[in-house]
């Protein structure tokens, strides 16, 4: 019911520094900047996104656009992309698809953005994906692991996924359980939409015979007592959750009530220990302490996390947050936003000095699979696939951090095999600003 239209326009930072090509990319043009397409001027590129800044999905997710904001602010200070500043606009849809349509209309028709970036959520973004593709607006790096954005580029030529899709994640989790917990009786705790379905389809490829129950919750219905009780009654001693963070907290709370203590495995989306611990720790005035409830739970990773203070990407992102960020600490959600902004910058550089919407899409298809960055494994971008990265580690949550229990493995949707990833982790370039050659 709350409808606070939160629109944040990035403050413009003077970055015009003469005509030298300090825009990061070295290979493009050499001519003059032109207003080459909607949302592109000689001095700026306008990008927009939609996020739940209020409501039940806001915890955590509302921090993602602030990560992009900090990255673009620092990027603009260094000259932006081809001397163009990134103008970053994000609006609140409260995780309500009706509102997503409304704010997307505003972004595309009133703000006249060049591209949609990082639009968050499966149900929300589903409501606007047709509109964006019909209007020919590039729809980059949707913040959702649904297959929708990437598995059929003919249907949605302008849309691209970014994070590991839920099916690939399910497969990697299933294989891990089959290899390491062959006797476990597995229960599934699933969000009742594409998120849960894709994850279930992936995991069943490997441990269909180990699964004793699959329970679904409807987002918004906060009583998950019957679902958790059903997992307990089915004798599940290992529960895999494909759920959002608030339902991680609810499932833990309900399990406490039931005296149910299986091995938990939360998929990447629902596992942020700081956020979930923060939600849980104030219950009963300290009688449930901190993230201790999640201690020992398993999860997956495709990006470095804030607890990895030795990781050079985290060090760079910490510096960016300190210099260009707003209030609060660097969180995993802000790291996620910054990593997306890094990929966006790669794409804009590759699209050349005077980018067009079509040129941007072609550039990603041609060279996107070669980009290195903070994500652990390469993207799958090509003319036939707009799927994002596919690699995941398995990690065990310890306190507010995690330790790796299985190195990166990569796979693809469908029955593609799972393989160990043999690439080296990339190190960040100077100022964590990429330097991709223009392809057009």
């Amino acid at each position: 019911m709350t409808t606070i239209a939160a629109a944040t326009v990035l403050s413009t930072v003077a970055a015009c520094g003469g005509s030298d090509d300090s825009g990061g990319a070295s290979g493009g043009g050499g001519g003059e900047n032109e207003a080459s397409d909607i949302g592109v001027t000689e001095t700026s590129i306008k990008l927009g996104g939609h996020y739940p800044l209020t409501g039940v999905a806001a915890p955590g997710y509302s921090e993602i656009p602030t990560g992009l904001d900090a990255y673009f602010t620092c990027l603009n200070q260094e000259g932006g992309v081809y001397d163009r500043e990134i103008e970053w606009i994000f609006r609140d849809d409260a995780y309500n698809p009706t509102q997503t349509s409304q704010v997307t209309n505003e972004l595309v028709l009133e703000d006249e953005i060049f591209a949609m970036v990082s639009g968050l959520g499966t149900p929300t973004h589903s409501a606007v994906v047709d509109f964006l593709n019909d209007e020919g607006v590039p729809d980059l790096f949707v913040s959702s692991g649904s297959l929708l954005w990437g598995d059929n580029p003919e249907e949605y030529p302008m849309s691209f996924g970014w994070q590991t899709d839920y099916m690939s994640e399910g497969k990697i989790i299933g294989e891990y359980i089959a290899e390491n917990f062959p006797d476990a009786q597995v229960g599934l705790f699933l969000q009742d939409d594409d998120f849960g379905e894709d994850g279930e389809a992936g995991i069943r490829q490997y441990i269909d015979d180990q699964i004793v129950a699959a329970e679904r919750y409807t987002p918004g219905n906060t009583n998950v007592g019957p679902q958790i009780a059903a997992l307990q009654a089915a004798g599940a001693d290992f529960v895999v959750g494909f759920n959002v963070p608030s339902y991680t907290a609810l499932s833990q709370l309900t399990a406490l009530q039931l005296g149910y203590d299986p091995q938990w495995f939360y998929s990447n989306v629902g596992s942020d220990p700081t956020l979930v611990g923060g939600l849980l720790n104030r219950f009963s005035e300290g009688q449930v302490s901190d993230a201790a409830l999640l201690d020992g739970a398993l999860t997956t990773g495709y990006l470095p996390t804030v607890d990895m203070t030795d990781n050079p990407w985290i060090q760079e992102f910490q510096r960016i947050w300190d210099e260009c960020g707003g209030e609060g600490e660097l969180t995993n959600y802000r790291v996620y936003g910054m990593a997306q902004a890094y990929t966006v910058t790669q794409a804009l550089q590759a699209a050349g000095q005077n980018p067009t919407r079509e040129g941007l899409v072609e550039a990603i298809e041609q060279v996107g699979s070669e980009w290195e960055g903070p994500v652990f494994a390469p993207f799958r971008y090509s003319e036939d696939s707009h799927m994002g990265t596919s690699g995941m580690t398995i990690e065990r949550i310890v306190g507010n951090g995690s330790e790796e229990v299985q190195p990166v493995r990569v796979t693809d949707i469908g029955d593609a095999p799972i393989e160990e990833f043999d690439g080296e982790p990339a190190t960040p370039p100077a100022n964590a600003i990429p330097d991709e050659e223009a392809v057009n």
Binding site: T2, A58, P226, G259, G278, L279, S284, Q287
Partner: protein
């Protein structure tokens, strides 16, 4: 069998929460004959006041008392300042005003306290009680909820049945003209009714929040279920509100626990239950009389 017990007890606790909210609706209906849609966001507002106090280091009980007191003041102010001018006009006016109030208060909460998702503490444990070697999903917190709701119901029944103030409130709600002729200070009674209803609403808000999450719109789902519970019970009877809440809580828990994809069917089931009850007994299960209005 364990599963049945678990689902039942979960439903019972959930039902008591619906009852708490339904009680507030019944109270305001009995004392003013207005259905107050703003009840939910008024309760959310006082819950956020309590949360601010707890975060500032006060104990739960201090926060509880302050929240109930501010609930009373808020209810009285709303009646005097916002509802009074539209009273006497068509009945629908006041109801529409409460709808507007509902949105306005919710937006104010977001402005003052922020719209983030926060956990709300409870003074009692959230671990299930151990009976023999099994744990049942009945926590000290759920016992606290059940106890509080039953206590409030008892006090309300006593107020309306055994005190002169309660009688005067009923008279004012029943017919302002007649009550006035009999010497009842109708204006004061209406303000008192709103204040008391807001106190009960605030309590329900706090009980619902305890050991769970709050954000400005956290009462939204409960407003719907609370209304359904109150209407099942007859909208007029405190006992009916409790029974309506329990029926709804149990039924929804069984649907969620036994129907395939039950969690998705919960909201639809609430509507089905409401329709069935109204078809069988149009006035609700505990309606006392049909044509009471003067």
């Amino acid at each position: 069998m364990d599963y049945f017990v678990n689902v039942t007890l979960t439903g019972l606790t959930q039902g008591m929460i619906y009852s708490a909210f339904a009680l507030a609706l019944v109270l305001i209906w009995r004392s003013t004959r207005i259905v107050n849609f703003a009840q939910g966001s008024m309760a959310a507002a006082t819950t956020f006041i309590a949360l601010a106090l707890i975060q500032a280091g006060q104990s739960y009980w201090v926060a509880l008392v302050v929240a109930l007191a501010s609930g009373f003041i808020l209810g009285a102010i709303v009646e005097r300042v916002i509802i009074r001018p539209v009273e006497g006009g068509p009945e629908l006016n006041a109801v529409i005003v409460t709808l507007g109030l509902f949105v306005a208060i919710q937006a104010s909460i977001a402005i003052i306290f922020g719209s983030s998702f926060q956990s709300f503490p409870t003074p009692f444990g959230v671990r299930g009680l151990e009976v023999g070697d099994t744990t049942i999903p009945l926590t000290p917190t759920s016992l606290y909820i059940i106890g509080s709701v039953l206590l409030v119901m008892g006090l309300l029944v006593a107020l309306f049945r055994f005190t002169r103030v309660g009688l005067a409130m009923r008279a004012s709600a029943f017919s302002q003209e007649v009550a006035r002729l009999l010497g009842v200070k109708v204006g004061g009674m209406l303000t008192l009714g709103w204040g008391l209803a807001a106190v009960v609403g605030s309590l329900s808000g706090l009980l619902i929040a305890g050991g769970s999450f709050v954000w400005p719109a956290y009462m939204d789902a409960l407003i719907v279920f609370g209304f359904v519970a109150a209407i099942i019970g007859g909208l007029d009877s405190p006992v009916g509100a409790i029974v309506g809440g329990l029926i709804l809580g149990l039924a929804l828990s069984y649907v969620s626990g036994y129907a395939p994809r039950g969690s998705a069917l919960v909201n639809i089931s609430a509507l089905v239950i409401l329709i069935v009850v109204l078809l069988v007994r149009p006035g609700g299960l505990f309606s006392s009389a049909t044509a009471r209005r003067a």
